[in-house]
Amino acid sequence: MIQESERIQVWRRAARSTAIVGGVFTGIFVALLIANLIGSAILGPSRENKLAAMKLQVQKDPTNQTLLSEVRQLDLKIRRDRIWRLDFAHKAAHMLLASVVVLLVAGKIAYDLGKVPPRPGHATDRGEIQVKEAKRARWAVAGGLAILAAGMTLVGISGSVEFAQAEEAGPPFASMEERLMQWPRFRGPGGAGVSAYTNIPTSWNGKTGENILWKSPVPMSGRNSPVVWKDRIFLTGADPNVRQVYCYDAKSGQLLWKGDVPTVSAAAKLEIMEDTGYAACTAATDGRRIYAIFPTGDVAAFDFNGRRLWHKNLGVPDSSYGYASSLETYEKLVLVQYDQGDGTEGKSKVIALDGVTGQVAWEAKRTLPNSWATPVVVQVEGKPQLITLADPNMVAYNPATGEEIWRAECLGGDLAPSPIYAGGLVMAIQPYSQLVAVKPTGQGDVTKTHVAWKMEEGGPDICSPVSDGTYVYLLESADLLICCRVETGEKIYEQEIKGDFRASPSLVGDKLYVLDMKGMMRIFQAGLEFKELGKCELGEECFASPAFADGRIYIRGAANLYCIGQAQ
């Protein structure tokens, strides 16, 4: 009997020793695996951050071969390290598994051999204990039920999405009525250049500060115009390497945020003439998001808090002076007139992007050459039309589907001025040549049927026209203001006003606002007779068209953004 007991003790000691050895090995492999995990957790991110930073540098300087080589070497190092660590982890895990099995088996044997046989005492009546246990069990069931109920409550308070409220919450874009009261794109609603407000200042001075509510520097240059949505003003700026979107607070002029827009390596070789610049295109907003496009073909959307929602490169455009068409929006679509080359390569198209996702909603290919005009969405007899200009055509599309509605072959040359819709006519300028008016009520080719008139006594090369529905005003970049009758195209007057102009004219009530390159705003009486009402000096070069809001004008100078209005 004693021998049997000793034999068990010997086996128990052996099992315990084996379990200890298994435990030690388990500890060693655990330590090695943890060290491996910590190593990859510490080294991995720091190296990857470094690699990401170097990649950003490559984007800015893609021809730097030394940098490229360093990036490749670091990338290789990271990959080798990952593979080594995975291999190590794999082998160590198998060893760990074996150690755990030894520990478990030996530990179990040692435990079983050391188990003391049960020695139950005298049996007693456990009725009272059993009653208490049953009571506890009932409480435990109640507790379990309470935990489940609490879990269900937690799930419940996570909220739910009610699709039924979709219509009540409103669509993902602002209504037409809201848009008409803002300045959501180049030259305001419909690209008409007409202010919804007439309480606009007629006197200010940038040097003395008269009626200058605030003035804020713009980080990077650009010839695009301000876009205004309630208390936010948006601009873009760029140089050959960096593209940015800016948002200013309308009350204080504070730069609220700036958002970077990336590009593709192919855009690095892009060279654009100085007069166009790298940020000629004006941004556009649908009241929910702000969209920007750059001559590199990069389109991006930001929310009003500066978070970039999506970015898309449409391919670097082939545009002889540099891409300059601004964006338009229709409902939640972002409309891009993307005409390129000479029109024979099939690269030109009008693209509609889903503003929420950036995905292409529709594309309309066309065999038209590069153009610099900005498309406009107008309401014709209650239906929307997207009007585009490209030599030699004026083409209208359904902005919801991209389906072509009509086209008129009536233009030519390098088309930079954008079309307008007033008095029931779409009016467009052929630079140095003519102003053409088309009735937008036709279908198909309307060249012979719907061209209302042509005023063939010249036309601006850059500035877009403006009209109050009765008269249309043209501003030639070299000091000529022309007024024609909308109904007939008859020229009313042609007046030399001295100055160089890049900004398009705007209409505020019965006043015509014309901003010259020196920053002098010239205010004229709209109507049959030419009459100058005043001049307001800003004291800074200006290329962009101004934006109008309630009691305010926003003007982008070469280096600053100005808010002009009467202090409250």
């Binding site: 655990v30 995975l86 895990a93 049960p118 409480w139 039920l145 739910s160 978070r307 995905q359």
Partner: protein, 427 residues
């Protein structure tokens, strides 16, 4: 704890997503063509079903005839290796609950042969032999049984409360399978990651936690979570033959009292204190009144959560994400919303689908809530009724038929001695 975490961290598949990042440069590298594994052959399904039937026959024999814990343990390890590591823990009867449910609710779904066999056969064996499947064949039970080193007794009252979660899990699994939303039993199978040496991090951590607990608490998943175990518990009560601690008559020596690490040995009942009967009657009446209230309350709660429960369905999740993107309440898109838009379907169709699915969850949620209320109320009633037992016996519902208790009975030793003597006499 640490070694399991380290082991989890070492699982190669868990790190698979960072293993081969796409190339960084235009180096001429071409991605290998994506391939999919071939579907499982029908022959393999038949083989699995045959192994299951043979295993259950053997288990029944070893448990009821030979009464050998050692042989059962060897069979259990064999089943763990085959159904767990060789067959990757799939298919198992626990997950087959969902296949069967989906078959009942979706005419377009054809249940695989193996799933049907795996669901039905263990139920049949349980009716005749008790829970032999749990004790010797189930790989999930086996892996927990194998790591049980130093059992600690869980108080019976606590076990009663914890078992409620298994019913809730069963109800949820049936609801989500019936609505075609998800097979949550498979998705959250805590041990399949170990069988496959890799898987979802969260589930691996859940499995590791259960195994750690399982070092001291016998089979925690089987006892407190397993939805199939819930069905087997109730069938096992009806079983014709099942595990008995003693091979003959109980002598009430109490040597088996602590022999079961799963708390499945019931002691003889004692006498209730004076006055307890009157209180018990009133309590029983109260719980009888409470039962319909719990069912109705649970049903109402489940109905109220229809939108949240429906979120488990991928179509509803997609609809909610797309909707939030459309109204600008969330920024950016996800792979799922991008994929939806790439289909060209309209959001109206998507929202209509989601609303219809939510409608199914209105009824399903109410049934689930009502079921949980019914189970809780039923348990309260059962715990208020006095049972009479004169012997130590294996709990017909809770016994996993592992055979651990046999050797604690002196009558079993007598039996074995007789067998040895008979064998020696023959020799």
């Amino acid at each position: 704890m640490t070694f399991l975490i380290a082991f989890l961290g070492s699982c190669p598949v868990t790190q698979g997503e960072i293993r081969f990042p796409p190339p960084e440069f235009e180096s001429g590298y071409t991605f290998p063509q994506t391939t999919s594994p071939a579907p499982q052959s029908v022959l393999q399904e038949y083989i699995d079903a045959a192994v299951l039937v043979v295993g259950l026959l053997l288990a029944s024999h070893l448990i009821l005839k030979r009464r050998s814990r050692r042989a059962i343990f060897v069979l259990m390890i064999g089943a763990l290796l085959y159904f767990g590591f060789v067959r990757d823990g799939c298919i198992c009867p626990i997950g087959a609950i969902q296949n069967v449910t989906l078959t009942a609710f979706d005419r377009g779904y054809a249940i695989p042969i193996a799933a049907a066999v795996f669901f039905v056969v263990p139920l049949i064996f349980t009716l005749f032999s008790g829970r032999v499947f749990c004790g010797a064949i189930c790989p999930l039970g086996a892996i927990q049984d194998a790591v049980l080193i130093r059992p600690v007794a869980v108080p019976g009252w606590l076990e009663s409360g914890l078992r409620l979660f298994a019913y809730a899990y069963l109800g949820a699994a049936v609801l989500f399978a019936a609505t075609g939303s998800a097979f949550i039993i498979c998705r959250y199978d805590p041990f399949v990651g170990f069988f496959r040496l890799g898987g979802n991090w969260n589930v691996l951590i859940l499995g590791a936690s259960l195994l750690l607990i399982g070092l001291f608490v016998g089979r925690p998943y089987c006892r407190f979570l397993c939805p199939y175990g819930v069905i087997l518990r109730h069938l096992s009560r009806l079983s014709k033959r099942r595990v008995t601690i003693t091979p003959s008559e109980c002598i009430r020596c109490r040597l088996c009292e602590d022999a079961c690490p799963f708390g499945a040995i019931r002691e003889p009942t004692g006498n209730w204190p004076e006055g307890e009967y009157r209180i018990a009657k009133r309590r029983l009446a109260l719980f009888l009144v409470l039962l319909p209230i719990l069912v109705a309350g649970g049903g109402w709660g489940g109905y109220a959560l229809k939108s949240q429960l429906a979120r488990v369905h991928p179509r509803v999740r997609t609809a909610e994400r797309v909707y939030l993107e459309e109204v600008g309440q969330v920024q950016g898109t996800t792979n799922v919303s991008d994929a939806f838009r790439a289909t060209g379907q309209t959001t109206e169709v998507l929202y209509a689908d989601a609303t219809r699915i939510r409608g199914r969850f209105a009824l399903g949620g109410a049934l689930l809530g009502g079921f949980i209320g019914l189970v809780a109320g039923g348990k309260l009633l059962v715990l208020s009724i006095r049972r009479r037992r004169t012997e130590y016996e294996a709990d017909p519902a809770g016994c996993f038929a592992c055979g651990r208790c046999y050797k604690s009975c002196p009558k079993e030793h007598e039996r074995l001695k007789r067998i040895r003597e008979t064998a020696a006499g023959r020799a």
